[in-house]
Subunit: 141 residues, 2 copies
DNA sequence: TATTGTTATACTCTATAACTATA
DNA sequence: TATAGTTATAGAGTATAACAATA
């Protein structure tokens, strides 16, 4: 057994656990992870441009343009040009988009919410919440 | 603002943070997350069958067969039929596969390892490690 | 020229359905 | 019939490259 750097070991466990979690969440179906995140941000921060959304989610603008286009096709957002700078597109939630966010946020039936509630004690959920805060720092480093 | 269930809020933060982390890790290139996990498991547990690997990683056997096939093309694993039950395929690490696992495990230069080391204090890394343990329970529930 | 966004294309990961070979 | 695995195909998510419109 080679000597192990504990941080490298943690990195490996993160890769394994994250992969497993993402597969599990996806398998439950429902509105897709990524799109829901974009919708939630629109609800929280209001009107944004495609570029702002891409920056906020740390995605390529091209990828975000694609995602926004699909959300528009699904009737969950609208786009309109910024009157002051016609290169830019303002993106807004539609009522249907807002309903979906509200429903999902309130839903106690979402698989992940339900499982966190059932499998973890309140103090364990607090550990996970703190870890998310830390991991965001890592992702944004 | 609708009343918020704190657990639903945590679920949302997990989706956002996990997505961001996964994108960030991918962007660094290097051996792919999923394949490295399979290689590491082979190193730790020794020879496995495709089905065992799929079960361990909670993936569909078809998906794992695909992954193993690509690892074989890359010269990182070999397959051979179980002499006792010729439906089954034993999967083994090649020397090249073992070298890759060793190099990656020891590497202090991997982006994730390096960033965890630089951005988080030891007690913060302990929080993340504990959260991974908890999240594995959630993923496997 | 620089910025904002889009289109075209491709790659990774994973899934389902249908199949083959072996037990 | 049941089990282990493979092949074919599809979809989500995201990336890069090339482009168009506007500033």
């Amino acid at each position: 057994m080679p000597e192990e750097d504990p941080t490298a070991r943690l990195a490996h466990e993160m890769r394994e656990t994250l992969g497993r979690l993402v597969r599990r969440i996806r398998r439950e179906g429902g509105p897709s992870v990524q799109k829901l995140v974009v919708l939630s941000r629109l609800e929280r921060d209001g009107t944004s441009t495609v570029g702002e959304l891409a920056l906020a989610e740390r995605m390529r603008p091209q990828s975000m343009a694609q995602a926004v286009h699909e959300l528009e096709d699904a009737g969950l957002v609208t786009r309109r040009p910024d009157p002051g700078d016609r290169r830019r597109q303002f993106v807004d939630l539609t009522p249907a988009g807002r309903d979906l966010v509200d429903a999902t946020r309130r839903a106690r039936e979402g698989w992940l919410t339900e499982t966190l509630e059932r499998e973890l004690a309140p103090d364990e959920r607090a550990v996970v919440a703190e870890a998310m805060r830390l991991l965001r720092r890592v992702a944004d480093a």
